[in-house]
Each structure stands twice: as C-alpha cells, then as structure tokens.
Subunit: 463 residues, 2 copies
C-alpha cells in the first residue's frame, strides 16, 4: 500500500501533498506503467484521511495524464518517461555587475533632478481615487484618449505640431515604438541612420531584421545628396539636436529632406526628438514635423528623458496616410502603458506641471552645464581643450589637443577608472574631423569627481 | 519695415510671437531669400519693444536656419522653399467605433471582477510613500529584482516551476514578450503554432518576419509525430489549457514534446500559460516548464488576465542556456513596465493578496460559469446542444446540432446582433470535427441578454 506521511505536508492542502507524492513516485519509476492504485476508500483509510482527499488527488493525476481511470476497475498508472536527473543542469550564472567608475562621461546619469515627485505622487493618488475601478478596464491600443489629447495640445504649443489625438500612439518607451515602426513600414526596406548617431535605434532596426545604412552627418545633419545616393527608404534623424554631434538641421536642408521623402513611393522620415526640450536660449528648435506637408514625417519622443527614466512612456505622431494601415496591421496590440500612468501623465500635462517642470530643469541643467564648463576652464586640461555645441541638450562636445588616438586614450583612461566617450565611438567610418572629440554627458557629473578626473585626463594626453 | 502687432500675441512671449511672425513671412514668401532684415535696434524701436526681444527672435531664426547673420552687416533671409499650402492634405478620419452587440460570445469581457482595487490602490500609495524618488531611477532591463523574486516564489508554489529570479524577464504584456522572443530566437526559424489556436501569437510572429507553421491539435494537444514532420524549430503551445479547444496535454505527450525539443539543435518550446489559474477542481495543471530538464522550455504568462487588462505586466522564464545571449542581444532594452507597477505587484504577490484574489475569482467564475450553463440548460437551445470542456478556463465549448454551416450561422446571427465565435474560425484547415462548435467566453455575459440571445440562436439552427 502507498504510504505517505501527510503530516509532512507543510502549508500544502492534504490532497495537493498526496498528489505530489504519487506524481513523484510515478516520475521516479517507483510506481510503474500499468500498475493499479489502491481504491480511494482503501488508501484514505490507510493514510487516515478523508476519501475526498484521495479522490481529488486521483482526479488531478488523471487530468494531468499520470493516471487513467477504468470504469469499475479503478485507477492505473499511465506509461510515462522515468526521470533520469533533477532540474536543469547548467550552473547558475549571476548577472555581471556594472563597473564602478571614478568619473563617467558616458553614463546618462541624472535625469531625475528636479522632478516634482510630490506632485506626481499627488496626481497618482487623485487618479486612483477619482477613476477607481475604471482604471482596470483595457484602454485603446494607441493610448488613453485623455493622454493623446493632452499630448496633442502640448505638441501644438511646444513643438509647433498640429496633430489630432488619433494620430498619436502612446507606447512603453521609444525602443518599443521603433519595434512597431518596423512592423508598420516593413523590414524589407532600408533604414538610413545617422553616423555618428544614436546606436539604440540602429540596434532595434537590425534586431527587427531591417537593413540599416549609415549616413554621414555634416555640420547641418545628413546631406540630401548623401540621402539620395544611399538608396534608403526610411530616414531616422534627430534634426533638432543631433546625437551625439549636437548639430541642428537648418530649415533649407529640412525642406530638402521633405522633398526627398515626398518624391518616392513609401519614403518616410522618423524624427527622433528626444532632447529638444533642453535648449538653453530662446525656444526649442521647431520640429520638422511642424512643416511636414508631405505626410511623410513620423515624430517620436519620450517622457523618460524629461520626467524620469523609470516612467516608460513614449509616443509617436503618425501621418494621416499611415493611420489606416496602422490600425489594420497593429491595431490588435494592447496598449503597453498601464492606465494609471497614462491618466496621471494626462493630468500632469493638462494642469501645466510639465511646462513648469521643463522651465525649472532647463534652468537647472543650464547651471549644471555652466558649472561643468567652468570646472573644465579651471582645470589643467583647459589649455588643451575647447567646448563646443553647448547651446542645447544634455551633453556637449569637448575637443582635445592630443596626439594619442581615441582608442589609446580611452584604454589609458579606463585603467584609471575614467570612462570616456568619443565621437568616433558613435561612428562606423574613419573620419578625421570626428577625432579627439569627447562627448560629455554632464547631468550626472559631480564637480569634485570631475575635478580629479580632469587632472588625470590632462596627464594622459601625452604618451 | 516689418510690422507686427505684438499685442496679438496671446499667451506667447514677445520674442516667441515675433519669431513666429517672421518665420511665417519667410515661409510664405513675403520675405524673400537674400533680403536684409532691419537692425535689431531699428525693429525694436518700430515695434515699441525691447532690443533683447528682437535679438532673441533673430537668434532663434538663425538657429533654425531661416536667417543668416553676416558680421557687421546684419541678418539676411536664407533661401528656403516657399510653402504652397497649409497642413497635411488628407481629411481627418475618425476611428471606427466597435459595433454594439446584443450578445457577444467572442468578446473577452469581464476580467476585472473581484479585483481588490482598494488593496491595489493602498499598495500603490504605500509604494509612492516608501520608495519616494527612488521610483524615478531606471530599473534593470529584465525587471525590478523584488518583482522577479516574488514571481519566482509564486511560480514555485503555484506552478511547480523552479526558476531563479535572473531567469525571469518582466515586460509590458505577452505580446511584447513574443516580439522579444523572435529577436532572441531568430526570425529565420519556423514557428509552430496550434491549429485551432490563439491567433495573436501567430500575428506577432508573422509581423516579426518569422515563418509560422500550423500544427493540428488533437484531444491531447499537438501530436509529437505532427511536430516532427512539420520541420518547425520553435513550438508555441498552451499545454495546460489549450485555446480555444480547452484540451490538456497529458504527461506522456509532454515528455514526448520535451524529447523532440532536446533532440535538435536550437529547438525551443514556448509554453503559453495564459489562463491556467482558472481550473475549477483540484489544483492547476502543472506547468510543462516544471518538468523541463532539457532547458528548452520558455514559460510565458501575464497578469492582465488574472488582475486587470489595463495592467500590462507579463513575464517569461528563460532557460539558463539562453540567459547569456539574451543579455548580449536584448540587454540594452529598457524595462517596459513602470517602476510603480513593478513594486506594487511585488508587494501584492509577497503579501499573499494575489493568491487570495485567485481563490476568490476562481469561485466567482465557477459560479458565473454554472449560471451560464444553467441558463443554456433552461433555454430552447438545450435539446440541440452539449457543453464541453467546462472544467477550466474562462471559456467552454458548446456543440450545436445544426445542418447549417458555421459561416451561415455566423452571418445570420450577426444580422440579429449576436456575435458568435466558432472553433472553425480559429482554424486554417477544413476539419469535420471542429464544425458546429461554439467557443463561449462567459465572463462578460449578462444572464438576461444571454437568455434572449439563446432563443434567437435556437431559431436560427434550421434554415
């Protein structure tokens, strides 16, 4: 007779424990195929438990295919493969920790400074109270109407873009939206990406099976001639503050790009506007989308950079001509951003918190930038470097006077615990004009560490 | 001299309004290429405003490429393309509203019943208070450690799966995770999907450029022979409660599937466990992943079904052998679920709210199901139908006695405002055994509407 100690069951229900014991005996071969199990009544008496316990355990084993019930004859063990060993074999492998840097010019760092967390928390609480259980219902695939309305108003006021709420698609970050874009526009097309440029977009396109073409950037962005010769059909650019060069594409070239897009079937421009909010004089550069009359510009932006990295909310503006195919092809996807965040962000935008926050952090970052630039001017490095493209964005360029190659400097600095980020590291082509130029992501920099780091760096410039 | 009425600027800053006016004049051709603009001082005097206002407007126009400053000579209009018309041309096109059904057997409906919203709201508030600004920082790409730990414990207790937290990847819903899986396993492989089956998975794979093969399901799931002949490398199955047939794959066939996966290089099984929680007798069917010793099973599940559709939180368990390539290839992606939801869900799991919720809704759905089945038994349809596969899940099958084809019945019912869902609609092959079988998604059904609908349906069974 099967004997198990039901008192050893811990927190498990009796039937559950019994089920596990018998299953284990079948999988280990202690009970073999064809063997007849004791009757429910007999086993229950033997184990000093209720018949219903055994009944439930047997029913579960039958449902999972371990036992077969034959009418009026009882339960029999099914033929199963007997388990040779326990568990997966390979050893656990912990995640590699990020190295700790004395100074990290590459790390995006910061990004949460000045975020009015208490306002956000208050709005979240308000949404919980006011919307209540309505928050549980699924929201439309392209986002909550309230949020799309608020983004539409914001885009009009802040970026000069006239976009109806139905043109706006909200998603869990821009990387997710790039994925959708390949599925929308097709992976059989060639995607032109800026060189030097933002590598994540290229990675996402490549991972999605699309072919990427590198387009060299000059002092105004991608030249239209280069674009025309490249044979690419989809152009991914950051015309308002190119990453990492900081170049702004002037109106005439923008018009040239739009002409290019309008001239060929199925050509599109993806305008990546990820840090246009951080311009320190005047107003942000007007979006390319704002002058798009060809209906070829897809505008993409995120709140991860302006609000907080942990808030994965990005959005895109689709041209009207793409709405039909978008709904047809991708309309079955569920919205990827939880309802609570969508409604909270809608309130945050509508009540003016976002614009106030932007004004505040623009000031904050301007001061931080000035402080970092002053620290450089006061350091031993000062005579051997020049700051460039510091008018906007959360990084600037630092041109170094050195004879060492970028690779040498990078490796030497790494040994000293400094993480450098050179323009050449964002490029695929050998270009003399890109050399010896550091990309300084300043929001996360601490002045004291920076001072020390600059002295170390100054000492590395010569062999 | 340029003349603009600065008093018409509304909420805009003076410089911003002036900038917009001049830009408009350049784009409309009223100011033409090469034309010299008045000096800052002269224009400021003319418009009765401060010099700094004009200066800022000119600087903005220069930054955007509308003007060029020539040293000591002033500002000149750059050559730009003059705008022919306003805005995008195609007319707005509103989203099509969903039809309103008198009775909808297909709609997933419901899904938020019994959700302890007040507990969730309380936990959210607690997370806001306790974690504070820490919530703003980016979280690891595969999810917050606390949540992965909680999921790991839940999987062990509830699904028999031993998975270390580092094997768990949290993402914004299962559809998003399917996208990641194609990028992880490759789109050059052939993905085997169940027929009849859950069409969204197939759609996502196809949209990602992968080839899908339909694998016919019998009374135990996909037969191993079919699998072997299909030539597929990745098998997507729902062995614990197949959608839509409700079939449970018994242990012996599971072992056969694992043997198949272990026998070929790069073979994987994606175990879609989307509604295993809803089993109304005994305990949930043990997951295939729980007996996987080959390291080939990727387990996928979601909280959208068990908690609320608006909470886009899914997760997958990767075999250890895939962790390295996952980090290498997809580790750059940001986590798609906001920090607040991740920490709230972690608490919800750790404090036992989830298990209590599951017990409650299992009871709730069982009663709802019984009520729906009783309503069918009491209707005129009763003599011409049989309920099947009602032991688990949020749908059951209803076999109809009718000579009309499924297409005819579906169309006739549609005219009466009834939305029917036939097993044949989930299949790509003509299979006699699938005919005349309705899939009844019962959670959203209202008894009164159901009564009326059943009478209408009974009247349609004969031509």
């Amino acid at each position: 007779m099967l004997t198990y100690d039901l008192e050893s069951r811990g927190n498990l229900a009796r039937y559950d424990y019994l089920y596990r014991c018998i299953r284990e005996d079948i999988l280990s071969g202690r009970l073999s195929a064809g063997e007849k199990l004791p009757s429910k009544r007999a086993l229950a008496a033997h184990l000093n438990t209720a018949v219903v316990t055994v009944e439930t355990a047997y029913a579960q084993l039958e449902a999972e295919g371990y036992l077969r019930a034959k009418e009026k004859r009882g339960y029999f063990v099914c033929p199963v493969e007997v388990r040779p060993t326990q568990g997966e074999l390979s050893a656990p492998e912990p995640e590699r920790p990020e190295p700790v840097w004395k100074l990290d010019l590459r790390g995006t760092g910061g990004g949460t400074e000045g975020f009015p967390f208490s306002v956000w928390a208050k709005l979240t609480r308000r949404v919980l109270t006011e919307r209540g259980e309505q928050l549980l219902r699924a929201i439309p695939h392209s986002g909550a109407p309230e949020l799309r309305q608020a983004i539409s108003r914001h885009l009009y006021r802040f970026r000069g873009i006239s976009a109806a709420p139905e043109q706006i698609v909200v998603g869990a970050g821009t990387e997710y939206l790039y994925n959708l874009l390949v599925q929308l526009l097709g992976r059989d097309r060639s995607y032109g990406v800026e060189d030097p440029g933002y590598s994540k977009a290229e990675r996402v396109y490549t991972l999605n099976g699309a072919k990427c073409v590198s387009l060299p950037v000059d002092g105004q962005g991608v030249p239209v001639g280069v674009l025309e010769e490249s044979g690419c059909q989809v152009l991914h650019i950051s015309p308002n503050h190119q990453f990492p060069t900081g170049v702004v594409t002037p109106i005439a070239r923008r018009q040239g790009m739009l002409r290019w897009a309008g001239a060929g079937e199925g050509r599109y421009i993806i305008e990546d506007d990820y840090d246009s909010e951080f311009r320190f004089a005047g107003r942000p550069i007007l979006a390319l989308k704002s002058i798009d009359q060809t209906g070829t510009v897809i505008y993409v932006n995120t709140f991860s950079r302006t609000l907080a990295p942990s808030l994965r909310i990005g959005y895109m503006v689709l041209p009207r001509t793409l709405l039909e195919v978008y709904r047809e092809r991708l309309g079955f996807y569920s919205s990827t951003v939880p309802a609570i965040e969508q409604y909270t962000l809608a309130l945050f935008l509508e009540e003016g918190h976002f614009e106030r926050h932007l004004s505040r952090i623009r000031l904050f970052y301007r001061e931080r930038r000035d402080q970092v630039i002053q620290t450089i001017a006061d350091s031993s490095l000062a005579k051997r470097c020049r700051v460039r493209r510091e008018e906007a964005g959360l990084h600037f360029l630092l041109e170094l006077d050195t004879d060492r190659t970028d690779e040498e400097l990078e490796a030497a600095a790494r040994k000293e615990g400094l993480r450098l980020s050179f323009l050449t590291q964002y490029s695929r082509r050998p270009d003399q004009t890109l050399k010896h130029i550091l990309v300084v992501n300043y929001p996360g920099l601490e002045v004291e560490k920076l001072k020390e780091g600059l002295e170390v760096l100054a000492g590395l410039l010569d062999r």
